[in-house]
C-alpha cells in the first residue's frame, strides 16, 4: 500500500538518530510551523485550486441565492490573506464549516465518525504488532531460512497488493463462501443501537454494557477489516523489526552476551530485543498513523462508518469542505502521533533519558 512506502520514507526522518538535539522550544516552534503549513496547504487546496470555490462547495447545480450566500460564507469578498486568517480562526475554534450533504457541522460529523476509525485502527495495530514483531525477529535470527522467506513474501505481498482489493477478496472468501465473518458494517443490522455508546467503539461499548451477543457480532464484523488492515502493518512492522534486529545481532554486546554462555533465546530477548523496543514503539506509532491512510479505502470497502468513509462520501458528493476538513484532521492526527512517538522515544531510551 502506498502509505506504507511513504511511511518508510517518513520513518527515517521521524526516528531521531541523535536524540536530544532539538529539544524544548525549537521543537515546539518546528511543530507549530508544520501545523501552520498543514492549514495553509488544506486552505490552498480547498479554496485556491478549484476554478470556482463556491461551485466546489455547492456542486454545479445551485440557485443564485445559495451561490451568493456561500460566496459570503466563504468570505470570498475579502482578500486571500483575510480569508486565510478567517480559516485559521475558524479551525482553532473547532469550526470546520458545514457539510452540504449531511447539513451538519463537519466537526460534529467527524467526532461521531472518529471512534469507529479508532477502533478499527487499534485492532489493526494490535494484529500488526502481534504478528509482525515475532515474525520480524524470527526472520532476522534465522536469516535465509524458510521463515525469513515467508516474512519476505508477506512483506512483498503487503507492498504490492492493493488494500481495497485484498479487502474485497477477503469478503468474497470469508463472508460469501466460508461464512466465517460478518458482512459490511459494524454489527448485524438488528443489533444496531442496542448498546449505549460510551466510547463509540462498538466492542468496548458492548463489553461495558455486558451484552455479549452484540460483542460477538461486533467482533465478527471487525475481525476481517482489522486483519486486512493489520496485514499491511504486519508487512511493514516485520520488515522494520527484521532490519533493526539484524543490526543488533552483529553488535559487539551480542557477541559478549553469547560469550557469557547465554542461550540463544536469552541473547535474542534479553539483549537484542531490549535494544529495539523503543525503536519498535516508534514504528508502531508510525504504523498507526499510516493506518489512517489505509482506513480510507478499507472503510469504503467494508462500509465502516468512520472518518475514511466520511471522506469518500464527501468525494462522491463533491463536498469539498468535508474532504479538506477530513484531510486536515488526518494530517493533524498523523503529526500528533509523530510528535508523541518522538517524545516517547526520547523518554524511554536510557541513553537519552
Amino acid at each position: 500500500m502506498a502509505p506504507i512506502t511513504r511511511m518508510a520514507a517518513f520513518g527515517r526522518g521521524a526516528i531521531p538518530t541523535s536524540a536530544g538535539l532539538r529539544v524544548g522550544l525549537g521543537r515546539v516552534v518546528s511543530v507549530l510551523f508544520t501545523l501552520l503549513g498543514l492549514l495553509a496547504l488544506t486552505f490552498f487546496i480547498g479554496r485556491l485550486l478549484p476554478a470556482d470555490p463556491v461551485l466546489a462547495v455547492t456542486g454545479p447545480e445551485v440557485t443564485k441565492a445559495t451561490y451568493d450566500r456561500v460566496y459570503l460564507e466563504l468570505g470570498l469578498d475579502r482578500s486571500v490573506w483575510q480569508q486565510f486568517l478567517g480559516y485559521i480562526g475558524g479551525v482553532l475554534q473547532g469550526d470546520l464549516g458545514r457539510s452540504t450533504t449531511t447539513g451538519q457541522p463537519v466537526m460534529q460529523d467527524l467526532m461521531r465518525a472518529f471512534p469507529a476509525t479508532l477502533e478499527l485502527s487499534l485492532a489493526a495495530a494490535i494484529v500488526g504488532s502481534a504478528v509482525g514483531i515475532p515474525l520480524g525477529i524470527a526472520a532476522a535470527v534465522n536469516r535465509g531460512s524458510w521463515i525469513d522467506h515467508i516474512a519476505r513474501i508477506i512483506g512483498l505481498a503487503g507492498y504490492s497488493i492493493p488494500i481495497f482489493w485484498m479487502g474485497l477478496m477477503g469478503l468474497f472468501l470469508f463472508y460469501a463462501k466460508l461464512h466465517w465473518v460478518g458482512p459490511s458494517g459494524r454489527v448485524d443490522i438488528f443489533y444496531e443501537g442496542m448498546v449505549p455508546p460510551v466510547t463509540g467503539m462498538m466492542m468496548v461499548d458492548a463489553a461495558i454494557a455486558g451484552d455479549w451477543t452484540v460483542f460477538r457480532s461486533a467482533f465478527a464484523h471487525l475481525i476481517l477489516p482489522a486483519s486486512v488492515l493489520g496485514y499491511y502493518s504486519t508487512a511493514y512492522i516485520s520488515r522494520m523489526t527484521r532490519s533493526f534486529m539484524l543490526e543488533q545481532m552483529t553488535q559487539e554486546y551480542v557477541i559478549a552476551a553469547r560469550a557469557k554462555g547465554l542461550s540463544r533465546s536469552a541473547v535474542i530477548w534479553r539483549h537484542a530485543f531490549k535494544n529495539i523496543r523503543v525503536q519498535l514503539l516508534t514504528v508502531v506509532a508510525l504504523v498507526f498513523g499510516g493506518l489512517l491512510d489505509g482506513t480510507v479505502l478499507i472503510e469504503t470497502v467494508f462500509g465502516w462508518p468512520g472518518v475514511g468513509q466520511y471522506l469518500t462520501r464527501g468525494l462522491q458528493f463533491n463536498d469539498i469542505n468535508v474532504v479538506m476538513s477530513t484531510v486536515l484532521m488526518i494530517g493533524v492526527l498523523f503529526l500528533t502521533i509523530n510528535v508523541v512517538s518522538d517524545w516517547l522515544y526520547r523518554r524511554l531510551d536510557p541513553r537519552t533519558r
Binding site: 559487539e252 557477541i255 560469550a259 554462555g261 542461550s263 531490549k274 523496543r277
Partner: protein
Amino acid sequence: MSEPRLLQLQDLRVSFHSRDGVVDAVRGVSFSLGREKLGIVGESGSGKSMTGRALMRLLPSTATMHAKTMRFGEIDLLAASERQMCQVRGRHIAMIMQDPKYSLNPVVTVGKQITETYRRHRRTGGRAARDYAIEMLDAVKIRDPARVFHQYPHEISGGMGQRVMIAMMLAAEPSLLIADEPTSALDVTVRFEILQLLDELIQSRHLGVLFISHDLNLVRRYCDRVLIMYAGQVVEEIEADRLNEATHPYTRGLLDSMPRIHRPRHRLPVLQRDPAWREPLTADER
C-alpha cells in the same frame, strides 16, 4: 610441561564467503595453551581476533571454520553441540572484548549484566547473585559498587566499563580467558591500571590467558610466549624474553620499526612486506 594443557588447537582454518568470493581469514593455526599467558600479535586483518572467536565458536554466520583438533581439556570444541558450547562459554572460556562502549549492552544495567553470567552457570537466587555481583565489582576495584550496580553503561567511564566487562566475564570463574585487545580502546592513562588489574586476577585465579594484541611491546612485557601472525598464519612462535632472537623477517621488521628510548633514530624504517610471507607454510615450517 607438568600441567595438562588447557587448550589444544591444530590446523584452524576460517574463511568467509561473500559475493566477491572466498576470503581465508585464518589459514592453519595451531598452538596449545596451559595456565600461562600466550600472546598473539599481528596487524589488523591478520586473523588474530578470528582465531580467538573461533575458539569460542562465536564466528559470524558468514564464516566457516575447520580444524583438525580443537579441545578444551576433555571437551572437544568441534564436536560440542550449541547447547554444550553455551555451558563452555563463560563457565570455562570467557572473552574480554575491546571496547566496553560497544561490548556492554547499553540498555541493561551493569548489575544485571554481571548477575546474568553468574546465574546462568550457578543456578542461584537473585539475592545471592546480587551480593556476588557487588563482590565482583569490588574485586575489579570499582568504588561504590552498590551504586554502579544500578547504573547503565553509558553512565560510567571507559575504564570503569572495562572493569565491569572483566567482572562480567570472570563471574562464573572460567579457567581460560581470551583477552581481545582489552586496552586498545581505552585512554592511555587507564590502560596500565586495567592491565595491572587483569594481571592480579590472572595470578589469583590461576587463569590461562590468550592475549590478542597488535602491540608487540605490550605483549612482550605481558606474556610468557608470543605467536606472530601474518595473513592468517602463525609465522613465528617464540618465548617472550627471547623475542630478540626472532628469525622471521616479518617479526624482525616489526621489532625494527619500533622506537626505542635508548637508541633514538632519526627515522623509523617502514616495514616492507614480502608477498612470499602470504604463501602457505609447509608442514615443516609450522
